[in-house]
Symmetry: C2
Subunit: 380 residues, 2 copies
């Protein structure tokens, strides 16, 4: 039904500029990713997740007092209503953590102190609160499903260290804390990726932050998005279990037209700059933990896919082996992506709400030509 | 960052054709809405919600045996896990029904018999199941929050009649059943409206139906989308409570730059064909129930806004007074929209999954020019 008033877009809206944004800059040809104009490499080397949150939410790096204030606010929000813990306890123990996270975040709206407010400042408070709460939910459900106690948060710890404490019941090593902190920085935002776009489409009806973040979690779950890092680790485990040659294994998968997760990207035509860091982390943590095989296997697969299919590893490929050697369960990989991306999602939702227009495209109708007619059932 | 490989789209993707679809035809210039090519007027006059569901899911009207089969399947799915009823009972009693619906639908995935399957047939089963379950959740939460018993479904009743039974605890009159049935037909689908688009964006990561429908419910909640019918009724109640002249009241709102919900539409440049039916229903039900004032008030506001602002009433405007004289609480208007739109959402999700491509547009970056630099905190 492409008429004078409509324009055809490429499938999947590839290359279509859907909105303006001040949050994230990507140059897919040069392999550049920057938050607020600052290159992801500089942030990964120097920043913290909390500072990155500030940058995404407020558009600039914080001064010392501002960063301290944000630390305190995040720590103060390390608290969730017993109703949410009850919901986690009542969920069947075999439910995927992403399904539980999506449900629990939706339910957080029941208890949000700013539930009836939707001004900019209330939305920033909700962003801070959700950032603390999502980490708590992911960790608490993992403890509960394993029959362990829910761990009390520690307000003196960084976001990364507190999350690892809540997950493992003990304070992490400095190496583990910094590794997760860098992973959180790298995953914090990525412009209009599918989950952020789902969040903005939801927010653009002037719906609330909890609805929008719930949409984002649902979209992140998909194996073409956040779910890819779990698929990568399942592949590595299969190769290991079968004591297979990783290249032969993957070659065989390609011959069977199976998709190899963790390669290629809609936007990057060169290396995903996040993969650059995660490759190094995967290597270094693998060596440090005495489990270098996951990195080695990954590297061989990467080299093969690059040679064979001209596809680069993306953010998901080396996050798999990185998280695995950190001792994190496979089905927590995508929830941990959400623990980070909540910062970017909320930045985009607030930006959308601050200057909103309903996001409502058209479809090209290819069904039975209008008009068909209703006919009585006995004549069909 | 609009480069050679990107194209600018109008704000809110207005007029941008984001995908092809065989489900719904809209001609915004002629005021035509058709499901599977059949005009909404013919369907409203002759069809049932169940038959409309079949049309949306399978692309044609059912034969008698097929319709009977669908009736049986919908009736068989009038069952939800006690875990969901528990969730509804545990929700604080003042929570908005849309927030509860979003959460409960997300939680339905915990108990779905086809949770691990995502082929076309499994998705159709989930669509049928969700259609029955959403109606049950909306009615059950309303009963629970009012301290009433949850009502047992009746497999011999139509979808509309069963919903009214679950809501009110008694079988509806034929007039009420048919009125709701027509309202469900009119709301069942509307091409790439914002909630359906949110559902397709979510599904396009190859996430599951429950994630996608949860996204849709979050988007529907917004006052620029489904939430508008509640806003309309709040306005009518304000006018009534103040014993005001409706035209003067609305004129005053316009002078204060306040938005009048229920008017104008992104796609229709003429009357919304759904409003045509709902206007008649609002009138007839108002007279039949001895409450003609809501229709009369609405008609005066409609005439004034049309003369003053050249805006037509949309689907939300007369659904407000229609639902109100049917005795339905205001905060159930949008949930009832979902009770209907689940049919269209699931049709679109299945269509997306059957021929998928990730929906991932770009943003035009307007933030601090790249490269900015990270500087030590003491130098900021």
């Amino acid at each position: 039904m492409s008429t004078a008033s409509t324009t055809q877009a490429p499938k999947g809206l590839e290359g279509v500029v859907a909105c303006t944004s001040k949050i994230c800059f990507i140059d897919g040809d040069r392999g550049v990713l920057a938050y607020g104009g600052i290159d992801i490499h500089e942030l990964a080397d120097n920043s913290t997740f909390e500072e990155t949150c500030y940058l995404l939410w407020f558009g600039r790096l914080p001064k010392a007092s501002e960063l301290k204030d944000l630390h305190q606010k995040l720590a103060a929000e390390r608290s969730i209503d017993p109703g949410i813990i009850n919901l986690l306890r009542n969920a069947p123990k075999n439910v995927a953590p992403m399904d539980v996270l999506r449900t629990a975040v939706s339910a957080l709206s029941f208890y949000d102190a700013d539930d009836k407010k939707d001004d900019h400042d209330a939305n920033v408070r909700k962003a801070i609160r959700l950032t603390s709460q999502i980490a708590m939910i992911v960790a608490a459900y993992d403890r509960i499903r394993k029959g362990k106690d829910v761990v009390k948060p520690d307000p003196t710890l960084s976001h990364a260290a507190n999350f690892l404490l809540l997950l493992n019941g003990e304070k992490p090593s400095q190496t583990a804390e910094r590794a997760l902190d860098i992973a959180l920085i790298l995953h914090a935002d990525h412009e209009l990726n599918a989950s952020t776009f789902a969040a903005r489409v939801t927010a653009a009806t002037l719906s609330d932050i909890h609805s929008s973040v719930t949409s984002a979690i649902g979209a992140l779950k998909g194996p073409l998005h956040g779910g890819a890092n779990e698929a990568v680790m399942h592949l590595l485990k299969e190769v290991d279990k079968n004591n297979a040659n990783p290249v032969e294994y993957v070659r065989n998968m390609l011959a069977q037209k199976k998709k190899i997760s963790g390669f290629g990207h809609r936007v990057y035509h060169t290396e995903d700059p996040r993969a650059t860091h995660l490759r190094v982390m995967s290597h270094d943590l693998g060596v440090a933990s005495g489990q270098p095989k996951w990195y080695e296997m990954s590297k061989k697969i990467e080299d093969f896919i690059k040679a064979e299919k001209k596809l680069n590893a993306n953010v998901d490929f080396y996050s798999a082996s990185t998280y695995h050697v950190l001792g994190i369960d496979i089905d927590l990989f995508t929830p941990i992506f959400a623990v980070s991306r909540i910062s970017g999602w909320t930045a985009h939702i607030i930006e959308q709400l601050d200057n909103n227009r309903l996001i409502r495209p058209r479809a090209d109708y290819l069904g039975p030509a209008y008009p068909q007619h209703w006919v009585p059932i006995e004549n069909r």
